[in-house]
Symmetry: C2
Subunit: 287 residues, 2 copies
């Protein structure tokens, strides 16, 4: 995929999607496909080719960590409005590799126990260990998104959280966790169509929740809260990427490319045996 | 796959592999392919077809549980000697479905904290919730396998554990967890070849541990301990299946068939909407 993104795309996808100073969320065209000029059907081939590369890099990342507990991990943080396609990313991008190397956590409404602790308490416990690829389906960012929009904490507390998040992310990146933060960005119209489909199809009813429409009615407030998140927490060590997601095939390809990019930078190596290979061959032959 | 196993096989795979009174482990031909007369290349096609069926049934199982916290779960318990292919089952059978519906747990050597508790303490915490497919890569059976072979507990304690396991499994099956217990069974010669391959290939060295040969030297003791497990804990509510595993393609197909079998017996249904679909369509249109 990285090779692909170099071949097929107009530039480095990570660069194109990265949130820098002055980034304006409202200016993003959610139907656009930055850095990818090919068709949907090409994208499917490229996704399949990228899946093989992802699978090999994941195995190396895991293998490397077996002999060295200080080796790196990867953490994909997925944030989005409802129906934007987080589940599809998990299924089609992450699902392409060995489940044994994945640590997946979906953060729901906090439990009473979780609410008794600082908002990062439940997050900290799910940071992936060395060698794992962690995936957060929603995350600590909910505490400054719905937290802000629904006034679930005081303004001072919300304010405190942006810095707390930056400190937390600085600490885990220093400890070897490579963060890939992604906002999947759909339009309000696209969301209407996707919710309508869930209401049309009885096999999709279970994915619909009347609360989804309540949140939808606060769309502009959410976009405002996302803009603040991007302004305050897109840091050099943990930048945000806004991925236009009205076209699911593009969003999947883009998130895969971001993951391949970080894995290639890690460049994990098969570990050198910590035992005497020839001696073990002799023991095996004698057993 | 179930349709397949009816079409292509000489009988119901679950029936053929199930451990009943009088079962003798030493009589199993580890290279055999009970109930499947086709070739390896047919098996790959059948595995792919079964994967689609598995994926759909998994989604239904998960969906059903969203509205009903008492709905069933599935728990695959995998036990085997080293190199028998547990990892390949997770990757190629379980990996075919949505990671979001899978609860995978690999049980390693118990930690000091775990050792302070009853052997079932750490197991209990990982029993899958309603709607999930749990996978135990090793399990509570280690405590009567290596536990017995290496005398990690007194004979009385080991003795107590068989009944404790049966009680535990009875309780969780009563609570709606459908247990699929599988021993992947390879020959000692096959293990030698697989360990030799790990020693030959630098990209496989990380999978090798000198301790594997120590355990291999106790092969007959382990087979004896497995025979006791099968005698004592293959119950009507939680039967064991011994899957000949010298041919990886057969083992994968067989475990997939066992899972499809239990999922088809559960026959999960898309849940009926708990909200007024028409009213929600109107709210959506107005939003």
């Amino acid at each position: 995929m990285m090779a692909k993104s170099q071949t097929h795309s107009d530039g480095d996808l990570g660069d194109l999607l990265r949130v820098r100073d002055g980034f304006v969320l409202a200016d993003v065209d959610t139907r656009s496909t930055p850095g990818y000029g090919q068709t949907k059907s090409d994208a499917q081939d490229d996704l399949a080719a990228g899946a093989e590369e992802f699978d090999e890099l994941q195995e190396r990342l895991y293998a490397q960590s077996r002999e060295n507990p200080d080796s790196p991990a990867v953490l994909l943080v997925l944030q989005a409005m409802d129906t934007a396609g987080k589940g599809g990313i998990v299924r089609h991008v992450i699902g392409a590799t060995d489940p044994q190397g994945i640590h997946l956590k979906a953060f729901k409404k906090p439990t009473p126990e979780e609410l008794e602790h600082d908002f990062l308490w439940r997050i900290e416990r799910e940071v992936p260990r060395a060698g794992y690829i962690g995936v957060f389906d929603r995350s600590h960012y909910e505490d400054v998104l719905i937290g802000r929009v629904r006034s679930l904490a005081t303004p001072d507390e919300i304010e405190r959280r942006y810095d707390a998040i930056n400190d937390f992310e600085r600490r885990i990146t220093d400890a070897g966790v490579h963060l890939v933060k992604v906002m999947l960005h759909i339009s309000k119209d696209e969301q209407r169509e996707r919710l309508a489909e869930r209401l049309e199809r009885p096999d999709k009813h279970w994915k619909f929740n009347p609360g989804d429409i309540d949140e939808r009615q606060l769309w502009d407030d959410y976009m405002g809260a996302y803009q603040v998140v991007l302004d305050r927490t897109s840091t050099p060590h943990a930048p945000w990427h806004v991925v236009p997601a009205d076209r699911k095939w593009y969003a999947r390809l883009a998130v895969q490319a971001l993951l391949l990019d970080v894995l290639e930078r890690i460049d994990p190596q098969w570990p050198v045996a910590s035992f005497d290979v020839e001696a073990e061959k002799e023991r095996l032959a004698a057993s």
